[in-house]
């Protein structure tokens, strides 16, 4: 079985360190689809994502199963500050990465970096290109990370809790941006989060992870309204409800 | 009512010992040091000869079955002298380390916890001391106070606490950023109580590791001062004076100055490894 461009097939994935941490996980991502992975800490969701990217931490390895990715894969992370060199201006960093992917002169890379900044909706790109990571806000840094990921012109974007550390308004903006990029570029998304509400708002299908296993998979509406597994039910119930916000009266 | 999912620990000391034995540095260091300490303590029993007995006819003899380390220019058995000198030097090093250890701990804790003006004043005092090369200070004090053991005790009591105080202060400051320190004071405990009962146990592992280095440095200082004639005075045997007296023979009768030097190195390596090992076990590095 081959995956199309933008598709991902994970079969029987096992990840081990001193003990087995992920016990045979199956995932299928269709081109252009957004699949959400939901689970608590220690469920193996982040490890699975890193295994797809080939970025498992030292001491851990894939001990079984296969990962087949159609096309280029890029990834964004939870804490952008630790993924950006504090001593390099973000524009320079992005320029270097563009050159590493596509060659060309420094000037063309710089132009490409500016384009990417516009793509990720960073305001005043010329000024921000010259900033250092610590001079940017959390939301801006996450957009920079997104720009870096897009520099590779990926077909699949892996997201490891990218909005967990962000304020709720900033989170909403970043999620909207991801949805927009997905629509515009036809990106497939694999989005990991502990927050079911975030995953449900962005993704078409959801996989629930628990203790290194994929416990339930299905379309978002099914998982939220008709969970079949007890654990899934518990996760859905644990989402604290908010009353509906009344519309602002229009004058 | 939920059950506690933690595993009940076997006695903490047993767990600590198991972890300790897994550190090669700690095991090697402890072994070397235990050996040197045992030999020093048992000097009267273990040394084959009296360290002072001269035998001018049998002087400058190479190592042999009857004299494992050979004899020096006055015919004294070097092995016995090395053993007895070790007894002196180790004793002084350990005793002289006690006061700077306590001072460094107290100053570091108070400075780190208080912050503000107290920290600033102590910082300037430390800066003043640090401006001088360390050995210059030690030698100056020994010169002023008088040579021998007392000079060394006083010199280190006055000056030896500086480096450990700085490390303890840094560690204390880091700990104070953690919530439980504020919680202790916020719960109504007094400042001295927070420092003594809550901070001290967390800082002690670091302090003990620093103590190993302190003892090592004092031992080297004792040997150096002895070499310069400013330390332990004859007839008390001391590795430093042995090296100094024997240096003329370095090319011809190498065993006279070298073997005391080897003893210094072994003790030093033992202390250093033990310090590293403890730091590993307590996860300080």
């Amino acid at each position: 079985m081959s995956v199309g461009v933008g598709g991902l097939a994970v079969t029987g994935l096992r990840i081990s360190g001193e003990t087995e941490l992920v016990h045979g996980v199956d995932l299928a991502l269709a081109p252009g689809e957004a699949l959400g992975i939901v689970g608590e800490s220690g469920s193996g969701k982040t490890l699975t994502l890193r295994a797809v990217m080939g970025l498992l931490p030292r001491g851990l390895r894939v001990s079984g199963g296969t990962v087949e990715a159609g096309g280029r894969v890029a990834m964004i992370f939870q804490d952008p500050l630790s993924y950006l060199d504090p001593m390099t201006r973000v524009g320079t960093l992005l320029g270097e990465i563009c050159r590493a992917h596509h060659g060309g002169s420094v000037a063309s890379a710089r132009a490409r970096a500016r384009e990417l900044f516009v793509d990720v909706r960073l305001p005043d790109p010329d000024t921000l290109l010259r900033r250092y990571p610590h001079q940017l806000s959390g939301g801006q840094r996450q957009r920079v990370l997104l720009a870096i990921a897009l520099a590779a012109q990926p077909d699949i974007l892996l997201c490891d809790e990218p909005t967990t550390a962000l304020d709720v308004t900033v989170q909403a903006e970043v999620l909207a941006l991801l949805a927009e990029l997905r629509a515009r570029r036809g990106l497939s998304l694999l989005f990991v989060s502990h927050d079911l509400a975030v995953v449900a708002s962005l993704c078409d299908r959801v996989v629930v992870f628990r203790d290194g296993l994929a416990v339930e998979t299905g379309p978002t509406a099914d998982i939220v309204n008709r969970p079949t597994q007890t654990y899934t039910k518990a996760l859905v119930d644990a989402v604290l409800p908010l009353p509906a916000l009344a519309e602002v009266d229009s004058e | 009512m939920s059950t506690v999912s933690a595993v009940a620990a076997p006695r903490p000391f047993v767990r600590w010992l198991r972890r300790a034995l897994r550190s090669p540095a700690l095991v090697a260091g402890a072994f070397l040091l235990a050996f040197m300490v045992a030999v020093s303590v048992l000097a009267p029993v273990v040394a084959p000869y009296d360290p002072e007995t001269q035998n001018l006819g049998g002087g400058l003899a190479a190592p042999s079955a009857s004299h494992w380390f050979g004899t020096d220019q006055l015919g004294r058995d070097i092995l016995s002298r090395v053993i007895w000198a070790g007894r002196t030097d180790l004793r002084i090093a350990v005793l002289a380390a006690i006061i700077p250890f306590i001072t460094g701990l107290v100053v570091g804790l108070v400075s780190g916890y208080s912050g503000g003006r107290v920290d600033w004043v102590i910082g300037r005092v430390v800066d003043t001391f640090v401006a001088f090369p360390f050995y210059v200070l030690i030698i100056a004090i020994v010169f002023a106070v008088g040579t021998g053991e007392n000079g060394i005790f006083i010199a280190y009591a006055l000056v030896g606490w500086i480096s450990s105080a700085r490390v303890i202060r840094a560690k204390t400051k880091a700990l104070c950023r953690e919530g439980w320190v504020g919680a202790a004071y916020g719960g109504g405990l007094s400042h001295p109580r927070v420092v003594a009962r809550h901070l001290l146990p967390n800082v002690l592992p670091q302090a003990v590791v620093l103590l190993m280095t302190e003892i090592l440095l004092i031992m080297v200082a004792v040997v150096t001062l002895g070499y310069l004639g400013l330390g332990v005075q004859p007839p008390t045997p001391d590795w430093g004076t042995m090296i100094s007296d024997g240096q003329l023979f370095l090319a011809t009768k190498w065993w006279i100055p070298s073997l005391p030097g080897v003893a210094v190195v072994i003790t030093g390596v033992g202390l250093s490894l033990l310090g590293d090992g403890l730091a590993d076990v307590w996860r300080l590095r």
Binding site: S41, A172, A221 | G179, W180, G186
Partner: protein, 254 residues
Amino acid sequence: MSSGLELVGVGVAYGSTRVIDEVALQVAPGRIVGLVGESGSGKTTLARAIVGSVPLASGSIRLDGVELRSGHRSREERRAIQLVQQDPFASLNPALTIGSVLDELLRVHGLCGDRAGRRTRSAELLGLVGLEAEVLDRYPRQFSGGQRQRIAIARALAVEPAVLVADEPTSSLDTSVQKTVLELLSELAAQMNLATLFISHDLSVIHAVCDHVAVLQGGRLVEVAPSGRFFTHPEDPYSRALLEAVPRIVKEPR
């Protein structure tokens, strides 16, 4: 009978910058007031000012009508306001057993008589937060984040405070554990007549436990309202923006 916590015109400055400005708030005994703010809003600074670790530049903080000064609070004043912090992994002294920490607090405040009495009371406190007596002889490293947070709550309750300030107490916890801790805080506020200030950036959590909501933006309160009204009819545009930004699960009507 405590009249609760009262903040009037409270301001905090770091150097020349006003981090908190003109904050007026009241927390009555037995009630839970939620303080919502995004990063940089000053909510943690306000928590620290209430607890006394940060000096006020203006205004006053009163407990039961008596003004509390920062930095030089008496033992009784410190005891009256307790803080539960966000990071459960830094909130307990790693070198001490849970039991020794609780015992010391009880002893220093002269509660519960002798050692046996204190031990019984410590076990009771743990029971209040759903933990067993065996916990007393263990070290913090043997517990999960959720358990540590419950231990931190038990520690706060040990000195019998009038006010509890909970600064993002469930932010570092898994959602399943979060529910337990929130229910616990609700129960305790009612049972022990605690005036509770619940600080969070998470509006769904605030909705779950709080009677009143105060919104902090850039160091100023932009809205204070009862929970019922706030979540459906927020008055301030910033409050509305926050509520609109919360991702919600849309369930199909049954």
